[in-house]
Symmetry: C2
């Protein structure tokens, strides 16, 4: 139902902050290509005339966040003065404006800094919408009529795979059984898997200790980082396989470490450890490469997963069309927010590929749980073979953090998209002015910020 009372919903402010957490100190989040990430985000707060707020973020890895923050400031011109109700009433048009401005699209298009910046703003708008409707985001989506939901999507460049009318038809069909699925979801939550046991920077002892911990917490699916040294990988994966036994599931993640043939050769050497998937074996732009890897690894029972660095729906379309991905890992903050993610879910459904969202980082678990729960209730109608990534980090910063119990995400109950920071987080971790950063500069834990990083202050 479109918002009928527009009064007070004019957007009068957009604030953006560079927020960084010093995660590189513990080796958390380290992988083959990202050796020292400081999990960070560009954090947007929208304010309406009647003092409603929308909070949205895009995840980053430390350096470079300042560039995304400036891009968000550059996009302000498309948001300020707009009535939020008008945006939601024709969300696809607004989406095109912010992602395809005739001058700014050159610095994208629909990728990298520009698309991350658009995602942060769009995420804040979706949060605002859910808050206005007084619903958790997943429930806002579930309660939308197919026609309204689909009106938020730009179908440009994907119409040979799915059209607006087809999307509406599919969503109408899947209404059957929704009540039962809502009940099941609220009683049982949604399955999670853990990436916590095998960051690249962890020792074998840490890996083994964490496997036991997460086994005890009820987890059945465990993901390990690979891709620097094949003998190390065999050893590290063996540690995990020995801990979890044959009945549980191992996944491995190379974070784009390999060339196409290297990926195939490397994975053959890990095949005896029976990984369910190899995630990001090579460049996130390489549709044909992923297809070659998928085909070569099929006889070994290994699927290919990916998506966290897939720039947009056009690349996702091809990965899904070509059989390059057996597991589609949508990300909540790289592509253009829910508007674009819905298109990817619809294409994945049409082309029979299971969605298992990417999460971790900052706020990604908080966001993707909403999306995957909507998918279960309204689209795929199944949890079979699907699970949401879970990393137990950076949740304490949020006012409504995701809750995982017995290896299942519990359906959020509070209104919004679950990415509002607690006020003290901004005081402490806004970069470089926050009190924690000032302390760490003082004791030389980190070097002082450089000229570029100071520019947005």
């Amino acid at each position: 139902m479109p918002i009928t009372n527009k009064s007070g919903l004019k957007i009068i402010a957009l604030d953006v902050k560079d927020v960084r957490f010093p995660t590189s100190l513990g080796g958390h989040g380290s992988d083959a290509l990202h050796t020292d990430p400081n999990y960070s985000c560009a954090y947007v707060t929208l304010t309406t005339e009647d003092r409603r707020y929308g909070y949205g973020l895009t995840f980053t890895c430390g350096r470079g966040t300042e560039v995304v923050v400036l891009a968000i400031r550059s996009f302000k011109r498309f948001v300020l003065g707009m009535n939020a109700a008008d945006i939601f009433a024709d969300f696809a048009s607004f989406w095109k404006t912010i992602t395809n401005d005739s001058q700014m699209r050159w610095i994208g298009p629909e990728c990298g800094v520009a698309h991350l910046a658009a995602a942060a703003i769009l995420n804040a708008l979706w949060d605002l919408w859910a808050r206005i409707e007084n619903k958790p985001l997943w429930r806002l989506l579930v309660d939308m009529e197919p026609q309204e939901l689909v009106s938020t999507i730009d179908f440009r460049y994907i119409s040979e795979v799915i059209t607006r009318d087809e999307a509406i038809r599919i969503l109408k069909e899947r209404k059957s059984g929704q009540g039962a699925r809502l009940k099941y979801l609220s009683e049982n939550g949604y399955p999670a898997y853990t990436t916590q046991v095998g960051w690249m920077g962890y020792s074998d002892e840490t890996v083994s200790h964490l496997c036991k911990k997460y086994l005890n917490l009820g987890f059945t699916h465990f993901k390990v980082k690979v891709g620097v040294n094949v003998l190390d990988d065999i050893r590290r994966c063996s540690v995990v396989r020995n801990c979890i036994g044959d009945g549980k599931v191992l996944m491995v993640d190379a974070n784009q470490a390999w060339d196409v043939n290297e990926a195939i050769d490397w994975m053959k050497k890990l095949a005896h450890l029976k990984p369910l998937w190899i995630e990001e074996p090579t460049s996130p732009y390489d549709v044909l490469g992923h297809t070659a890897i998928s085909n070569a690894l099929k006889p070994y029972g290994i699927g290919v997963a990916g998506g966290e660095m897939c720039a947009n729906r056009v690349l996702f379309k091809q990965f899904l069309q070509s059989g390059g991905l057996q597991f589609c890992q949508i990300d909540a903050a790289r592509v253009g927010s829910i508007n674009e993610i819905l298109a990817i879910y619809l294409m994945a459904d049409k082309l029979n590929v299971k969605v298992c969202p990417h999460a971790g980082g900052v706020g990604l678990c908080e966001m993707v749980q909403h999306l995957q729960m909507w998918d279960y209730v309204s689209l795929s109608a199944s949890m079979d073979g699907r699970f949401i990534e879970y990393v137990d980090q950076q949740h304490e910063h949020f006012s409504d953090p995701c809750i995982v119990e017995n290896a299942r995400y519990i359906a959020p109950k509070l209104r919004g998209y679950s990415t509002q920071f607690l006020p003290e987080v901004l005081d402490k971790f806004t970069y470089p002015t926050g009190s924690e950063w000032q302390r760490m500069f003082e004791d030389a834990t980190f070097p002082e910020p450089d000229e570029a990083e100071l520019l947005n202050v």
Copy 2:
């Protein structure tokens, strides 16, 4: 030959400016998706200890240049204090550092703002190198031994198409006949085509007038923008075909206006006007889409061209592998400068696709002429069916502008990469502080800059 005397070559300053020209006032450069571009660039000046300079730029379309400028500032940390000779001695390693920093790659990777920023800095480094060697850039490349040239390339993600050793072998083979080709090039220049006759904003009268003008200047290849309205396109292309006759060549450019099936249907309606190619029919990420369009249009004798918005060598690789492009339009400032462009030329050669560089904008003609001339002398050894785009705009700003005579680019003779601005250009067109911009704000020709645009000042 590596630089043996490193003394004085430490890079002690990197300056970057936001430079914009008010081209939207005349409809120049307008196309289906870019309706009002202000041709612009982020302009980098490197300074060494002994006061040598390197000038490099990346092209932009107005708004958003400020974001690229900040990204360049963020990349300063990788450049300042380095000795330029050390960079050139292992250029591929430096390339990896600036394009794949473990924290910053998340805001790419290898695309959009981050890659445009890297390109501007790398272009300045190549200019500096050519100035140190006292050669025009194309000649620097021609004079390099294959081993040295190839040492500047990162072969990651493309090794299944071309390896380092294979590239060296190919370049060695093509040494035969180089002397004769150098002579031919210096006497005859390199063929150009014009995009000047058919910008979207031009009236039929203007189109017709310009066709006659460029015919008289000796041009044989004419490109027209299409993609907003099919009846308009038929009319506009007919105007051009009538002016140039059947003996000359028409190309059309949709600037990503269409979905895949739409592109096929639309082009069938233009087929009777016998265009050589349709450029950018759809999303620059759609490898499978381009392949479908290529296959569908082959019976009509229409090829597919593209590349100016192709983010990186991995996407180019697939367009070339899949038959999605019959004309490969490398761009001098979107992918990671010459290091990456050489890889694309080598793949195009291996996969038998002709390179016809994208140019126009700001400084693109100046740069790509060097690349294509190197290709003729050292790689493809042929000009057959190849030509460089030429747009007669924004050349007056450069100290060594490209020269096109009788529809042929004349080989540059001055040292460097031809992208040094005349000093008064920066005084006038630096945005928003330049005198021309101040004048235009005052008389309200353009709105005042916004908060984001002021941040880098």
